[in-house]
């Protein structure tokens, strides 16, 4: 090393010394020349070595309810996916910011066999073995399965794809059932956050003991790489294991809400956002989603349940007037599409009394004008609508409609 360079490095150490910049206490030099270290399983309970630098374990958990769900089918599952190609999955990574430098070191996948959930965890214990690690997990993560995850569609699946690409390999998890989206719908308005741990506590009623917070996971792993102490990783592995178990519990609970919403309401467990649930169910069962091959019975049930939910929401109160108006608008539109004009009219009438949303008045006026020919009453409604609460577009529509109704009335009087 040249003197000049040495001096510069010394300088560098002084400048950086004590600065925060990504330093870890007790960091030691990596093993050099040993190739991918840790040929043995690192002494973690249940793990066995697969290859140098990669180990795994398999755990079986009884899962009768899940088996039942998969036998009967669920509105949550797209057609074509059943027990043989359904996978729960979750990854642990060396960082959360993504990008080429964030590595996957723990990959978990679970599937149903008989009435048991078979849960596999694959652990990378040295970066140099990443290629072998990916080789092994490629088999365990078939590209055409349906992957149930929590935020796995946007983050984990992408990370995995990146790792494969870095090793010049295309491996893409194509189909996803990311429970984050339905969970947000059902619980966002009721919970301070929609993190998995929050859902566990408040909805799934699972209490974890001594759980390692997610943000500590990368540091634990780095420390493990330096010190090779399996005790450091044990909490990470346990955390990851429970995350996957929670996925199956969450799937069951969301399924329960969507397949028996009224029962859930009656029991009061789990609580959920009734309006959002109904809206989701309506969308899922809307006519354009029906195809001949699909289970028509299930869709019809879904729609019936959604309508019941909305009716409950409208009749039993408990919803604020904004929610109420939204529910009435959605349900009314649904009924109009089905030609159930009297039902829609009754619905709008009761809603107009409970909420002063001018959109309800407009909808009711439309039915009165076009279906009942009650032009006078329609005009009355339009004129009394609270235009202060209108958007600009709606105000224009009110004016336009009012003018037309007046012309109609005048013509009728001639």
């Amino acid at each position: 090393m040249s003197a000049d360079l040495y001096q510069r490095l010394e300088l560098l150490k002084r400048i950086r010394g004590g600065a925060a910049g990504g330093e870890r206490a007790g960091a030691s030099r990596s093993p050099r020349g040993a190739g991918p270290g840790g040929g043995q399983a690192p002494g973690l309970s249940g793990f066995v070595a697969a290859e140098a630098g990669v180990c795994f374990r398999v755990v079986r958990e009884p899962a009768p309810k899940l088996a039942e769900l998969l036998e009967r089918g669920s509105p949550l599952l797209p057609s074509g996916f059943g027990r043989e190609n359904l996978r729960f999955f979750d990854l642990e990574t060396t960082g959360l910011s993504g990008g080429a430098g964030t590595k996957v070191f723990l990959a978990g996948v679970a599937f149903l066999e008989e009435r048991e959930l078979v849960l596999e965890q694959w652990l990378l214990t040295e970066y140099g073995a990443e290629s072998a690690f990916l080789e092994l997990i490629a088999e365990r993560f078939p590209q055409d399965a349906l992957y149930v995850s929590y935020n796995g569609k946007a983050f984990d699946a992408h990370q995995l794809k990146t790792r494969f690409l870095m090793h010049r390999r295309q491996h893409v998890l194509r189909y996803h059932l990311d429970l984050l989206y339905p969970a947000r719908r059902l619980w966002r308005s009721l919970l301070p956050s929609c993190g998995l741990s929050e859902l566990e506590r408040q909805v799934l009623e699972i209490e974890r003991e001594d759980d390692l917070p997610s943000f500590e996971v990368p540091e634990r792993y780095f420390e493990f790489l330096d010190r090779r102490d399996p005790a450091l990783l044990a909490p990470v592995v346990a955390h990851h294991y429970h995350d996957i178990l929670s996925l199956s519990a969450l799937l069951l609970t969301i399924h329960e809400v969507f397949s028996d919403p009224l029962g859930c309401l009656e029991r009061g467990r789990p609580r959920f956002d009734t309006l959002q649930a109904a809206l989701w169910m309506l969308r899922r069962s809307s006519a354009d989603r029906l195809d001949a091959a699909a289970d028509e019975g299930g869709t019809v049930a879904l729609r019936r349940n959604a309508e019941r939910l909305l009716s409950t929401l409208l009749s039993e109160g408990g919803a604020n007037s904004e929610e109420l108006a939204r529910a009435a608008l959605v349900l009314g539109a649904e009924w109009k599409r089905a030609g159930r004009y009297s039902d829609a009219e009754a619905l709008y009438r009761s809603a107009v009394n409970a909420s002063c949303d001018p959109r309800l008045a407009v909808e009711l006026a439309k039915i009165l004008e076009h279906q009942r020919g009650a032009v006078g009453e329609a005009l009355e409604l339009v004129e009394s609508a609270d235009s202060a609460r209108c958007s600009r577009a709606l105000r224009a529509e009110l004016e336009h409609r009012g003018a037309r109704l007046r012309r109609k009335l005048a013509r009728a009087a001639d």
Binding site: P36, G99, A100, Y127, G128
Partner: protein, 775 residues
């Protein structure tokens, strides 16, 4: 006689005007040199060119085409209006047409300016209906179109910041693009100098490394404005031999360059008429005669003021075509506003524009006939760029530089031979600057594991080992792997300025519309509560500056004054790391806090520019924590004694000038830009209790310039002494210790004082060495 000839004749016959002209230079017209369209040109491309009216190339375009086609990296030196874009578009489009998978990356230095869109426009013109998809990918690109841009864009237009923090760290998303990357175009390469350029070299290293991983080795096409060492700079940035193409074949009309010194208002006190008024009246003369004019102002405030004055003076003036439209143009306008102004200039609906240096670079605004510089733009090369904004290929054009009373401006107008004769500035970079290299080494290790034998930079494995000791990389399986949870590019900014902006919201009559934005430090200086903010001819009063939420609320108003902040800068020593005697002075290396505080503002009346009041400002200080070298002149040291020996009245001027001189000399030794370094002098420094000169890094956290300055102090001072001795000027000039400043009220000759001071400081031996160097 053309309009412009008529106005120039009028000016020549106006004794009041010519009385203030210190130089009237005629730059003769230049014949164009042409070449046929290349024989091997793809028929589609040929067709597109011919239908766009291009039947021949300028010689430099043909040269560039040949060199790039044969696989050589090039740098094309292109003055304004020389058909620059075609010199890279042509070879790129040719390849993209014949190799259906090939891709190209165009890099422009600005983050938000319109050049990128401009480039896209030129491309679409030059490529016609070639069906080659061009996509812009920068911070403003909506998420919804990013994936499509990556996957289908054959030409991606971006900037170094995006490449550094967005593209490279996520390269697996870019496989298709990077794996087929055939060209990298680096436009305006002369802007990558000093620290910015040192970052750029490392970004190019990273780009090449990732491209190589995917099997690509792109050719580099660089474009540069006229600088002293274009090839050397390009070779430092690309780190390969680069062919220089500087035979500009574009024709140019004759140009008249006028250096103008405003007349005295008060000869005794040496007060001249203000640059704002003078620039306005000149611009008015041109505009009223129907000459399309651009005025360059040195600040955003001046831009608005001059534009406003011109508009008011033109309110009742009509030409054959109706009203004369004049627009202001500067950073801080919304992109849509800028686009509209640029388009107006091109199609002729806007006849005049007043701009900051934002329009100095390559945005196409069509041909203008007159350029008025309201003040010396700060560097010779900037002056030529701005002057070049006037002038079309055929016609006569004029550029006028109106001097302000600042010493530098006065020097330029009084020494036209200096202004005209000085070679353009050189650009230096130091990519192996320890701080910069370490930052990018971290990024590179994040992007791909790094093998020990890989030559990212000279001896980079030593640095990798250091990172390994820190625990941010880990050696495994024969390579260093990134082993940290962070995203290193996030913490590395290629520029000194902070990127967080304050948006300006107009709430007049309960509206809520964003009218512009500005960076945080300047927000404190122009958008404090009760400030008058000028925007496109409207006055607004600031009702609330909310720095936390990066928002400034303004309302329309009408007052007869504008506001100017009084800025105070002070230095606090935070920590002394090291103190040593070297070169006859005590040197202290350490951390300092540079605080910039706006505590007051002045209200200045429009037109008369008199001060009509003050106001208080309550904004938090802008702080920069950086590294500094303090040169302490202690008694008993050679430097301290040399200072004592000076006439007491000359001590401050001498120390100030050592700072200026050091900034002139140091870039050669530190491979930086003069502006990367800062200097501040204290005759009675509160921390050291002695006269002292601070040299510090203009970058938060410092990047090692102050340290390097300390290690090379002897060499720098010797070079400084020989420079100032050999300089032909009498009492100092911009090349040595800086021009004389009348405000200083110094009787003696400051240049002599500096020579005496430095000679005493360096001692007999060193002085002899400096003498030696001279011979």
């Amino acid at each position: 006689m053309s309009v412009i000839e008529r106005v120039l004749t009028e000016l020549r016959n106006d004794p009041v005007f010519t009385g203030n002209v210190t130089r009237w230079e005629e730059i003769p017209a230049r014949e164009g040199r042409y070449a046929d369209l290349p024989a091997d040109l793809h028929p589609k491309l040929r067709g597109a060119l011919v239908s766009a009216g291009v039947e021949q190339l300028y010689s430099h375009q043909a040269e560039s085409y040949r060199a790039v086609r044969s696989g050589r990296d090039v740098v094309v030196v292109t003055p304004t209006a020389s058909g620059k874009t075609l010199s890279y578009n042509l070879p790129v489009l040719q390849e993209l047409l014949s190799a259906p998978e090939a891709r190209a990356l165009y890099l422009f230095p600005t983050k938000a300016l319109s050049q990128d869109q401009q480039a896209a426009l030129n491309l679409s013109v030059e490529s016609g209906e070639l069906g080659i998809k061009v996509a812009t990918y920068d911070g403003d690109t909506p998420d919804s179109v990013r994936a499509a841009a990556r996957d289908t864009g054959r030409i991606i237009i971006s900037n170094p910041d995006m490449l550094h923090a967005g593209i490279l760290p996520n390269h697996p998303k870019w496989i298709k693009f990077l794996g087929n990357l055939a060209f990298v175009v680096i436009d305006e390469i002369h802007t990558y100098r000093g620290v910015f350029g040192s970052h750029m070299t490392n970004v190019v290293r990273r780009l090449r490394r990732v491209a190589q991983f995917y099997g690509a080795d792109p050719t580099f096409i660089c474009c540069s404005a006229t600088i002293g060492n274009p090839r050397e700079l390009a070779e430092r940035i690309v780190e390969r031999p680069v062919e220089l193409i500087d035979n500009n074949g574009a024709p140019a009309g004759a140009k008249q360059l006028i250096l103008y010194n405003p007349p005295f208002v008060d000869r005794v006190q040496g007060i001249r008429r203000g640059v704002v008024q003078e620039a306005r009246s000149l611009a008015l003369r041109f505009l009223k005669a129907g000459v399309k004019t651009i005025v360059f102002a040195r600040s955003r405030l001046r831009t608005e003021l001059i534009a406003d004055y011109i508009r008011k003076s033109l309110a009742n003036v009509y030409t054959d075509d109706g009203r004369i439209r004049v627009e202001a143009y500067r950073g801080g306008y919304l992109p849509s506003e800028r686009r509209a102004i640029e388009a107006g200039l091109r199609d002729g609906t806007v006849q005049g524009v007043v701009s900051t240096n934002a329009l100095e670079l390559g945005i196409d605004i069509g041909g203008l006939d007159a350029a008025v510089m309201a003040g010396f733009p700060g560097s010779i090369s900037s002056s030529w760029q701005q002057a070049g904004r006037a002038g079309r290929t055929q016609n006569l054009s004029v550029a006028v530089m109106v001097a302000s009373s600042a010493p530098l401006d006065q020097y330029m107008v009084k020494h036209p031979e200096y202004f005209l004769g000085r070679p353009p500035e050189q650009g230096f970079v130091d990519p192996d600057n320890l701080h910069i290299l370490m930052s990018h080494l971290r990024c590179a290790a994040f992007e791909l594991p790094m093998q020990p034998e890989e030559q990212f930079a000279p001896q980079s494995e030593i640095y990798l080992q250091h990172l390994e000791e820190q625990g941010t990389v880990r050696f495994s399986g024969g390579a260093y792997h990134w082993s940290d949870r962070s995203y290193p590019a996030e913490g590395v900014s290629l520029r000194s300025a902070t990127s967080d902006n304050v948006v300006i919201v107009d709430t007049t009559n309960g509206e809520h519309s964003v009218i512009g934005e500005t960076d945080r430090p300047s927000a404190k200086e122009v958008l404090f509560d009760n400030a008058i903010y000028l925007h496109r001819g409207e006055q607004y009063v600031v009702t609330q500056l909310d720095l936390e939420n990066r928002k400034c609320v303004v309302e329309r108003t009408e007052v007869n004054y504008y506001t100017e902040a009084l800025v105070k800068r002070d230095i606090k020593v935070l920590h002394e790391d090291e103190s040593f005697d070297a070169g006859g002075a005590r040197l202290v290396l350490g951390d300092i806090l540079v605080r910039t505080q706006v505590a007051k503002f002045k209200k200045i009346r429009f037109q008369s520019h008199e001060n009509v009041g003050y106001g208080e400002v309550a904004v938090p200080e802008e702080e920069m924590h950086t590294r500094a070298l303090a040169i302490v002149f202690e008694r008993g040291s050679r430097a301290g004694d040399a200072l004592q020996e000076l006439d007491p009245a000359m001590r401050v001027p001498a120390v100030v000038r050592i700072g200026a001189l050091a900034k002139n000399v140091a870039p050669v030794f530190l491979l930086c830009e003069s502006s990367d370094l800062r200097a501040a002098e204290r005759l009675r420094d509160p921390h050291f209790g002695r006269p002292c000169l601070y040299i510090y890094d203009g970058y938060p956290g410092g990047i090692g310039l102050a340290e390097a300055f300390g290690y090379k102090l002897d060499t720098i001072l010797q070079a400084a002494l020989s420079l100032v001795r050999s300089c032909d000027c009498g009492e100092g000039c911009p090349s040595c210790v800086g021009p004389r400043d009348p405000q200083e009220e110094v009787d003696g000759n400051p240049k002599e004082a500096v020579i005496a001071f430095l000679s005493g400081w360096l001692g007999a031996a060193a002085t002899a060495a400096a003498e030696q160097a001279l011979q």
